[in-house]
């Protein structure tokens, strides 16, 4: 068999990572709510063959709750970072191509958002937006676009000064045409890698905010909620209720991080050389 080259390997790995993430997401969302209903007879059991991650103080199976939690994390993370990335592109392009004043205003807003710690801002926004899933989504989406927007602004400024973009204008093409045909295709790598990096942040922020009690309602099977509940019982010796769901969160973050790394290899022209 022909030896696989560097790039092919990266593509295969990235595809495998996406399959794993989709699989985890599907698994969690297929579990019915009834399956995680607890029975007090089984409350506080350590991991066993029947309950791989043990059960919590209400007798709910922690493995199933964790799976549902991971699925929820991915949903929240992906939707929030997708919205954020689209905001980043729109804002970045407007800053680079619009009037000087628009650019100044956008830069000022970016500085403002970036100067406040994310966690506090997410808490404030999601509180104002009525907590719950919607509040959390808006909170995360509204705070994560800044650095990507700045990156895209710089990239567009540089692309716009390219000779081929100037030639295009003299061939009678409109600004919109140039934007779509010359500029946006160049932004795809930044967009995708930015998206994955944001996904990472969004998942962690979702967990952190829920852990602090400002995010999702306590009946939801979210990893943040599970961890926050387990805190009360840690001193009672229920180590599994924090450790195993916690490790699952780390696993998801690692998977996403690897995916970002692989995508960078595939998209970056410099790493394209062996």
């Amino acid at each position: 068999m022909k030896r696989l080259n560097y790039r092919t390997k990266a593509v295969i790995l990235a595809a495998a990572l996406i399959v794993i993430l989709v699989f985890l997401y599907a698994l969690g969302s297929l579990i019915p709510e009834s399956a995680v209903a607890g029975s007090f007879l089984e409350a506080g059991q350590p991991p066993s063959r029947k309950h791989l991650f043990g059960t919590d103080s209400l007798g709910r199976d922690l493995f199933l709750r964790t799976l549902k939690g991971m699925s929820l994390s991915l949903t929240v993370g992906f939707s929030a970072s997708m919205i954020s990335a689209v905001i980043a592109v729109v804002v970045g392009v407007i800053a680079a191509t619009g009037s000087k004043r628009a650019d100044a205003v956008i830069n000022w807003v970016i500085d403002l958002v970036m100067s406040v710690p994310h966690t506090i801002l997410v808490i404030l926004i999601s509180f104002a937006m009525g907590r719950g899933l919607k509040g959390l989504l808006i909170g995360i989406a509204a705070t994560h676009w800044c650095s990507l927007a700045r990156l895209i602004r710089g990239e567009v400024l540089q692309l716009r000064s390219q000779q081929y973009a100037a030639v295009s204008r003299k061939l009678g093409k409109s600004s919109g045409w140039i934007l779509i045909h010359h500029l946006l295709p160049h932004l795809l790598p930044q967009f995708l890698i930015g998206l994955i990096l944001m996904l990472l942040h969004a998942i962690l922020h979702e967990a952190a905010i829920s852990f602090l009690g400002f995010g999702l309602p306590p009946e939801q099977s979210a990893i943040g909620i599970i961890l926050s509940e387990s805190m009360r019982y840690l001193s009672a010796g229920m180590w599994w209720s924090a450790m195993l769901p916690g490790l699952s969160l780390v696993l998801i973050v690692l998977l996403v991080d690897r995916l970002g790394e692989r995508l960078r290899t595939v998209l970056d022209p410099y790493s394209a050389q062996e």
């Binding site: 390219q162 000779q163 081929y164 003299k170 061939l171 009678g172 010359h182």
Partner: protein, 206 residues
């Protein structure tokens, strides 16, 4: 048709010295004017002014007595020295030509473009081959004047001769005025009808 620069002055910044001052220049349809000057005399700046890429602070660039249109296809087209910068590296070369308009097989061969280059990416072609695309693209848009800024300075002599042969043939087919910026007096003698020395500000017999 006549392209003229009337008392044109230009500088990039108010704090910096004038790159060009009170420049007077005019080229008629069918004429090929060579602009000769040492480096630092604003040759590239002048090329960009004439093609409407830059606007002079003082004076004006007129085509048949009217300023260049700011929108639509510009009747004055500029060809740059480095073709690899003037072509989007992510585009296949078919798209590069299509940007200027529809083209036929015949046009391709008259510019010395092989049909199978169209499906390639720019990095798979040499500078001379890419420059043919830049020339073809400029001429496909149907210009009245062509500004050539050292377009063959990076090419070997054979490729240079090939490129100019095509441009001159095309220039005879359609009435075209040309401004050729070069440092090579011999080249100017081969391809131009008259010359102008930017440094001294006077015409040269070719």
């Amino acid at each position: 048709m006549k392209l003229e620069a009337k008392k044109v002055s230009f500088r990039y910044d108010r704090k910096r010295p004038w790159v060009l001052e009170n420049l007077e220049l005019s080229v008629n349809e069918g004429e090929r004017l060579a602009l000769l000057a040492p480096s630092g005399y604003g040759k590239t700046t002048l090329a960009m002014l004439l093609a409407g890429y830059l606007r002079p602070q003082e004076g004006e660039i007129l085509l048949d007595g009217k300023p260049l249109p700011q929108k639509g296809v510009c009747p004055v087209q500029l060809i740059y020295q480095h073709p690899e910068k003037a072509i989007n590296p992510r585009w296949r070369l078919r798209k590069v030509l299509e940007e200027a308009g529809a083209f036929s097989e015949e046009t391709l061969s008259s510019f010395g473009i092989e049909p199978d280059w169209l499906s390639r990416f720019p990095r798979e072609l040499s500078g001379g081959e890419l420059q043919r695309f830049c020339v073809a693209r400029a001429l496909l848009s149907g210009p009245k004047f062509l500004i050539c800024d050292e377009i063959s300075a990076m090419l070997d002599t054979v490729t240079q001769a090939q490129l100019w042969r095509r441009i001159l043939e095309e220039g005879e087919r359609q009435p075209l005025g040309m401004i050729v910026i070069t440092h090579n007096l011999f080249l100017a003698k081969q391809v131009c009808t008259r010359g102008y020395d930017l440094e001294k500000g006077e015409s040269i017999e070719l």
